[in-house]
């Protein structure tokens, strides 16, 4: 027997709740902004520069002892955390004054100290060092990449639909990106290059979801010439609701598998993606479509645009 996640036909008056959902979104955006500008992001060495060492020990070491031992090396700020298992420790050391030799020396010092305290059986799983030039470049490229992709998608939507949809899609997109960054700030998950990849994928996913709803709205505008815009938007969201939920669920299934079994290195990425898919789904229903109503999309706009249905879109009555 097949299970239907969503009843065959739904008639949820989504638009009726738009001021509530706008309110929720506004609160979350403000919270994200506050967390971003206040406590800020837990920037990894990709963006902050510095040294990161992941070391596997034979026996789980005492973090307190290790913290004071490494803190006594005069390397400035040293932070420790277990990484997936109690005997797997992630050590982050701030960037050292001076050239790359100073950084390499710091890595040596940490290793010597760890061996002195824990014996020889340490396996170095990862050693990373990012200098100030590279981290500055990574920040610039990351910001640029997000901006360029948002603009490129905006142009695509503008060409395929018309400007109201562009505004709505970008509104939903910016909403998702801000909330995702806020999620990073609130949870303290390390923000690194992979996080940027996650944000860009969320951008793609969110737009994907939004476009499906918009496609239906455009189609319904042509089909129901007399219907109230608000009812038409509601109808379109309801008609695509089953698909929206289905795709979110399959994507989430894959991402949850990645989160649970994909290993510690990828967990931050998986977390961000899971959050992004949920937010992206929410926004395509509760942000992207209602914005169209708020900025005054009407039948008139559609006709003015002079859109001619192509063969593929023609209705076979």
């Amino acid at each position: 027997m097949k299970i239907k996640l969503i009843p065959e036909v739904t008639k949820v008056p989504f638009l009726q709740y738009r001021f509530i959902t706008f309110g929720i979104s506004a609160v979350l955006i403000l919270l994200s902004a506050f967390m971003f500008f206040g406590p800020g992001l837990n920037k990894g060495i990709d963006f902050e520069g510095g040294i990161m060492i992941e070391a596997g020990f034979e026996n789980a070491p005492d973090l307190g002892d290790m913290r004071s031992a490494l803190g006594g090396l005069g390397l400035g700020q040293v932070s420790l955390q277990t990484f997936g298992a109690p005997d797997d420790i992630l050590i982050r050391v701030q960037r050292q004054e001076g050239d790359s030799k100073a950084q390499m020396l710091a890595v040596e010092k940490v290793k010597v100290q760890l061996t002195a305290d824990n014996g020889e059986g340490i396996s170095y799983r990862r050693i990373e060092f990012v200098g100030p030039t590279v981290s500055a470049e990574l920040v610039d490229t990351a910001i640029l990449a997000v901006l360029v992709s948002v603009v490129a998608i905006l142009i695509y939507i503008w060409l395929r639909f018309e400007w109201h949809y562009s505004v709505g899609a970008i509104g939903a997109l910016v909403h998702d990106v801000i909330l995702t960054i806020g999620m990073f700030a609130i949870t303290g998950i390390e923000f690194n290059v992979a996080s940027i990849a996650a944000i860009l994928t969320i951008v793609g996913y969110s737009i994907n979801d939004t476009v499906v709803v918009y496609d239906r709205i455009r189609e319904n505008f042509r089909r129901y010439k007399k219907m109230e815009v608000r009812d038409l938007l509601d109808l379109s969201i309801n008609e695509t609701l089953s698909r929206t939920v289905m795709t979110s669920v399959t994507t989430l299934l894959a991402l949850i598998a990645l989160f649970i079994f994909g290993g510690e290195v990828i967990r931050g990425f998986a977390t961000a993606m899971i959050f992004g898919v949920v937010v992206g789904t929410y926004s395509s229903i509760f942000v992207a479509a209602p914005i169209l109503l708020q900025i005054g999309l009407t039948h008139h706009n559609e006709e003015e645009d002079g859109f001619k249905p192509s063969d593929d879109e023609a209705f076979d009555t």
Binding site: K2, K4, L5, E8, E54, K101, Q103, M104, E108, S123, Y124, R125, R126, I127, F129, V130, G131, T133, V134, T141, L144, V148, S149, A152, I153, Y156, I157, R160, V193, A194, I196, A197, L200, T201, G204, I207, N208, V211, V212, D215, E239, S242, M246, T247, T250, T251, L253, A254, I256, A257, L258, G262, G263, I266, F269, A270, S310, D312, E313, D316
Partner: protein, 529 residues
């Protein structure tokens, strides 16, 4: 009527077969692959350094050092131009120095202005672009004169140094016996070194951190050995291996390490030493200096530090010598290696190091496999639960999608990274989207009272534009990630992009073909989507 032309079906089947055939090598051991005939597909997916373990080093050539050296040598050239061998042509100047990006001086007499210009003109050679390599400016009264290298001359020089550095880096890395290192230029002044399998590249970093310029100098015995002023023409240099000890050596280079032909680590009286052999010119210079200075100490200087300063007991004429300096075995081996590989023309800075131990790489692959399989099974089960037979079709399309991704990654020689695996797993979830769109459409059409054939037909037709729109937008994000992303993130973009393309193919063509075949064969009266 549902129609799916035979030629189209043949094409789809062919593509799918190719997908399977080109993915298979990844499941076959290397030795078996070698036994296959040459025409058989044998490309593997390349594993990134984060999966197979290894190190990524981004080095930058010290361009400031290059410019400094360039200006110092320009200063010498200017001096030589103004004071030629022919004494009648000599031009009086004072205050010759490097200042900022120029070499400046002032002429003793403004009358020499034109003569000075003529003397300096050969420095400013014509470059292929039609510009002169240097700008020569002399004020009216000759009191202010400067020679400035053009931007282009500088960048040309930097380019030459970078090329030369890559050569030396390559030789040093190869000498250590690392497997399949890649060394390539990146941008104007950077060198990317990738060392597969090397999780802890400390030794290579140490080796690349030295320019290894070796010179031989006479020791100035009139200078105090520990502190105090240094006589002109000499300088105080620290000892390489003895903490706190310094030497006062004469600046003049008697023999240069450039003239070395070979260097080997060996033992002398149980101590590790480096035996060196000069080429013809170096051997002659070395022979002359040692003949003329018997009984005096002779300093061996490496990158501004004195390795040792042994007394010359007798002239050394054969061009071979021994360097001893309190080395341990590794130290002697490394010095020999550096001398063999040659000196770097400028110091290198390490901008970025990323090393992954082989066990973390193996763990990541294992975790990726498990996550991928579980994700795949979860999605597949869910699709069957929701869509029944149609879900099965979507699953076949999904499985084929995985093969096509594997085949494309193999054939393109793309590198699979950990984020790349994440991209594939994400694709598992998103790839069914196209089929979901189609099936939901078919459900709707059925509800609207269409016959099964018509519902299927128009379901595919109407979902098509939506699928294209939805995938193009995700595709845009993938392309931008690929173009702008670095290293591992690029790997994510590649798998995401390939995944999107393959999922469109499998949803629009493969699943449609399967459903058409099924519908034609069974002629269903009702659709149970």
């Amino acid at each position: 009527m549902i129609s799916f032309p035979k030629w189209k079906a043949a094409l789809v089947v062919l593509v799918c077969l190719l997908g399977v055939v080109y993915t298979i090598p990844n499941f076959v051991s290397k030795s078996m692959l070698e036994q296959l005939p040459e025409w058989a597909p044998n490309q593997h997916i390349n594993l990134g350094l984060d999966l197979q373990g290894g190190s990524h080093l981004l080095l930058q050539v010290d361009t400031e050092d290059i410019q400094k050296k360039m200006l110092l040598s320009l200063k010498d050239t200017v001096r030589a131009s103004l004071l030629p061998e022919d004494k009648t042509k000599r031009i009086g100047y004072r205050n010759l120095k490097v200042s900022g990006n120029s070499v400046t001086f002032s002429l003793r007499s403004g009358d020499d202005r034109e003569a000075a210009r003529q003397a300096l003109l050969p420095i400013a050679v014509m470059m292929p672009t039609g510009q002169r390599s240097h700008l020569i400016e002399i004020s009216e009264d000759g009191s202010q004169a400067s020679v400035t290298p053009s931007e282009q001359a500088i960048s040309e020089r930097i380019g030459a140094v970078v090329v030369q550095s890559i050569e030396i880096v390559g030789r040093r890395v190869n000498e250590t016996g690392v497997n399949e290192p890649t060394i390539q230029r990146q941008g104007a002044d950077r060198i990317l070194v990738q060392l597969p399998g090397l999780g802890d590249p400390q030794r290579i970093i140490d080796l690349l951190g030295q320019t290894a310029q070796m010179t031989f100098h006479l020791v100035n015995l009139s200078g105090s050995a520990t502190s105090g002023s240094v006589p002109p023409g000499s300088q105080r240099l620290p000892s390489l291996n003895e903490e706190g000890r310094t030497y006062v050596i004469k600046n003049q280079i008697m023999v240069s390490g450039e003239n070395l032909e070979d260097a080997q680590a060996t033992f002398q009286q149980g101590q590790p030493v480096v035996s060196i052999r000069f080429n013809g010119l170096g051997g002659k210079q070395f022979g002359r200096v040692t003949s003329e200075n018997v009984g005096r100490p002779f300093a061996i200087v490496l990158d501004g530090k004195v390795v040792s300063a042994p007394r010359i007991n007798e002239p050394i004429l054969g061009g071979a010598a021994i360097i001893s300096g309190g080395f341990n075995v590794q130290g002697a081996q490394d010095l020999a290696l550096l001398l063999r590989a040659g000196a770097l023309p400028a110091p290198l800075n390490i901008l970025e190091q990323r090393s992954v131990g082989p066990d973390l790489g193996a763990d990541s692959i294992e975790a990726g496999k498990i996550a991928g399989i579980i994700g795949l099974v979860a999605v597949a089960v869910f699709m069957i639960v929701v869509y029944g037979l149609f879900g099965l079709v979507a699953n076949i399309a999904l499985a084929m999608n995985m093969f096509l991704i594997g085949a494309l990654l193999s054939v393109l020689g793309a590198t699979l990274t950990l984020p790349g695996i994440a991209g594939i797993i994400l694709t598992i979830g998103m790839a069914v989207d196209a089929n979901v769109l189609i099936f939901e459409r078919i459900r709707e059409e059925t509800r609207n009272g269409k016959t099964p054939f018509n519902a299927i037909e128009s379901g595919y037709k109407r979902a098509f534009t939506t699928i294209v729109d939805a995938n193009v937008t995700t595709g845009i994000a993938a392309v931008i990630l690929f173009v702008m992303g670095s290293g591992p993130v690029k790997g994510f973009a590649v798998t995401l992009g390939i995944g999107i393309m393959c999922s469109m193919f499998t949803a629009i063509l493969l699943s449609r073909m399967l459903i058409s075949l099924w519908a034609q064969r069974t002629r269903p009266k009702t659709l149970n989507v």
